[in-house]
Symmetry: C2
Subunit: 192 residues, 2 copies
């Protein structure tokens, strides 16, 4: 049944197109501008086609989040693998995390600020999300110190980075001292 295979392939292509277009539109004009009508127009299909791929807008956000998580994981691993020593790895991870958030604000929002209907911190958490956390843990675990569980340390470090990323971008923190804040965070939290 080569016909059916082709149809499935085309369907998968179109699904990727939807997700990529949603991401693109969100990065260009923010998630508020990602409406089902505009999205449908951009992919040159009618609105109901979206609903044959996803249950609703929320699931599209979730799909962008999964894509972003995979991308973030490789970004973090690339950055920390280029650093020498535990301390440098922690700094590299922090910088590349914040850099990713700054360069891809819409994807970051899809992952951590919006509701994409994804399950976090549980057994049935999707693989890309688990892997992004694992990527952080790989670099941070060795800086947890003796009496602290690496996962707990990673959670706290991650939360601090997340706070810096969101507050900075929302204009809640003065934009100038970003690098100083990273240095302070790393020097105090990391034990080595």
């Amino acid at each position: 049944m080569s016909v059916q295979e082709r149809k499935e392939r085309e369907r998968a292509d179109r699904e990727r197109l939807i997700v990529a277009t949603a991401r693109e539109l969100a990065e260009q004009q923010g998630w508020d501008a990602v409406t089902t009508r505009r999205l449908a127009e951009r992919i040159e299909y009618s609105q109901p086609v979206l609903y044959s791929h996803f249950r609703g807008k929320r699931e599209i956000v979730g799909a962008v989040a999964l894509l972003g998580a995979a991308e973030m994981a490789t970004t973090l691993r690339t950055a920390s693998s280029a650093a020498d020593g535990p301390r440098a790895r922690v700094t590299a991870l922090a910088r590349s995390y914040l850099g990713f958030a700054e360069r891809n604000p819409a994807v970051y929002d899809a992952m951590f600020r919006l509701d994409g209907g994804l399950v976090f911190a549980a057994e049935d958490t999707p693989e890309p999300l688990k892997d992004a956390f694992a990527a952080m843990l790989e670099s941070l675990g060795e800086a947890a110190g003796n009496s602290v569980h690496p996962a707990l340390f990673t959670e706290v470090f991650w939360a601090a980075l997340h706070g810096l990323a969101t507050l900075t971008r929302a204009g809640r923190l003065p934009p100038g001292d970003a690098e100083k804040r990273v240095e302070l965070l790393v020097s105090r939290l990391a034990m080595m």
Copy 2:
């Protein structure tokens, strides 16, 4: 002109009613449920009345945020003033901050997650926001350590608390170890 005074008083009362009702509705059913129609119905006026007090929904969110900031400032000051010594004050501040965020999620969102059209970290930042930051600085400044500016330290500590608050509530962090995370954060960040 007693008549005019009465009218101004009644207008101010109604404005407070709008803000309180918006807050109440948001805490009960989330900000998505706070629509201008529902809000108008609850205060027993028609929709356009809202627009004679506020430019739009965003400004109503901003008003709730200001109210919440003042409340948070007194909450934080009360908690830290009951603690003995710098270290205990930092712990008390962290716990009361997270407690406030947990007890008043909608107000917290209005302050730090939603766009209420408020200016942060600038000269024309509204007084309640400045004061809430000042309340944090009062307890945290003495734990900054020698070579770190108290304001910078407060920013980083605040960002970490904000990350913990938002990630926990969004289900991004396992709910069980919240207290352990606070302890780790305080013990590593605070210098004394």
